[in-house]
């Protein structure tokens, strides 16, 4: 049994056992009352704390970002040209990709190109990317050989519009007069 003095501090707070410090029985009862009061205070304390406590709950939200890689070219205007004159047209293109890996725009000629026509392509690179060469790249030779070319490289996560695309032609005498269509493909590849 600890000395009564050690309980006097807390007991005074409760106002229960300021008296009866002489008899052992009274002493015990006083100590019991103190314990009860202190226990009661201890039980009430969390209640008060709970009232002051903030109430909260959580949500887990999932957001799926779909992979996107696309190049879109506006229709290029028709080009009127002839032997020894050549010519060039310009248009615009847009590119969007959220893939972290570096990509390139590859330009190629699809289908059967007209004979005697050479084509050169030049693209303005989006921010952070580079031209494969300063000069425009040849994608079609007069003998009809089509060679896909990576015209812009190092394309990172970007969304850019109104970038310039230029197509230059050189027409030889082998090219038959009349209308001819050349189908160009622009592809974003890793």
């Amino acid at each position: 049994m600890p000395p009564l003095r050690s309980f006097l501090g807390p007991c005074r707070l409760s106002g229960v056992c300021l008296r009866g410090v002489c008899l052992r029985g009274v002493h015990l009862r006083a100590v019991s009352s103190c314990v009860v009061v202190l226990l009661g205070l201890a039980l009430l304390a969390p209640l008060g704390a709970a009232q002051a406590q903030r109430v909260e709950d959580t949500h887990t939200v999932t957001a799926e970002v779909a992979p996107v890689s696309a190049v879109s070219v506006t229709a290029l205007p028709p080009l009127v040209t002839g032997p020894e004159s050549g010519g060039a047209v310009t248009g615009t293109y847009s590119v969007v990709t959220n893939r972290p890996a570096a990509q390139s725009i590859v330009v190629s000629v699809e289908g059967t190109p007209p004979e005697g026509v050479a084509l050169y392509v030049d693209l303005e690179p989006p921010t952070g990317a580079q031209k494969a060469r300063e000069a425009s790249l040849q994608v079609l030779t007069p003998d009809g050989t089509a060679t896909p070319r990576a015209v812009v490289t190092g394309i990172g996560q970007v969304s850019a519009t109104d970038l310039t695309v230029s197509v230059r032609t050189e027409v030889g005498v082998a090219a038959a007069p009349g209308d001819a269509a050349v189908r160009l493909s622009f592809e974003l590849v890793e």
Binding site: V55, T58, H59, V61, A63, P100, Q157
Partner: protein
């Protein structure tokens, strides 16, 4: 007989909100009923609900929430409308007094730029109801 009515406030969010972002710059919104909450509070003091993220969103991804206002006695609770979610708590509903309501809508809206890599992101949104300052 002595009756003691204790002050009590409970907030429970429900649902599994999921968003699919089709392309950079195109926002997506959770459908109706995807997320709701229930609120019970018998204390009259004006309270507000705040929302926060457990961590910062990845670059290029932004997330907003619109939390409906619960039925509330007194002058009536008010939603703060679309609110950007960040690690710091932002108020989403205010002027809540005594209330017991459930199925109150929570709508999420997200948008990604090209800087957000294609993958599934999981974020934890914590809702806290506190006494208004």
């Amino acid at each position: 007989m002595r009756l003691q009515i204790r002050p009590n406030t409970t907030l429970r969010v429900q649902g599994t909100p999921a968003l699919t972002l089709p392309a950079p710059g195109q926002p997506a919104e959770t459908p109706d009923g995807a997320a709701t909450y229930a609120l019970t509070t018998n204390t009259g003091a004006p309270k507000e609900i705040r929302a926060s993220l457990d961590e910062a969103l990845p670059p290029g991804l932004s997330l907003e929430v619109k939390v409906g206002a619960p039925e509330s006695r007194g002058r009536g609770a008010t939603s703060d409308g679309w609110t950007a979610l960040r690690p710091s708590a932002a108020r989403v509903v205010h002027d809540i007094q005594k209330s017991r309501d459930s199925g109150v809508p929570i709508t999420y809206r997200a948008v990604a730029t090209a800087q957000a890599a294609p993958e599934d992101y999981r974020v934890t949104v914590t809702y806290t109801i506190t006494r208004s300052n």
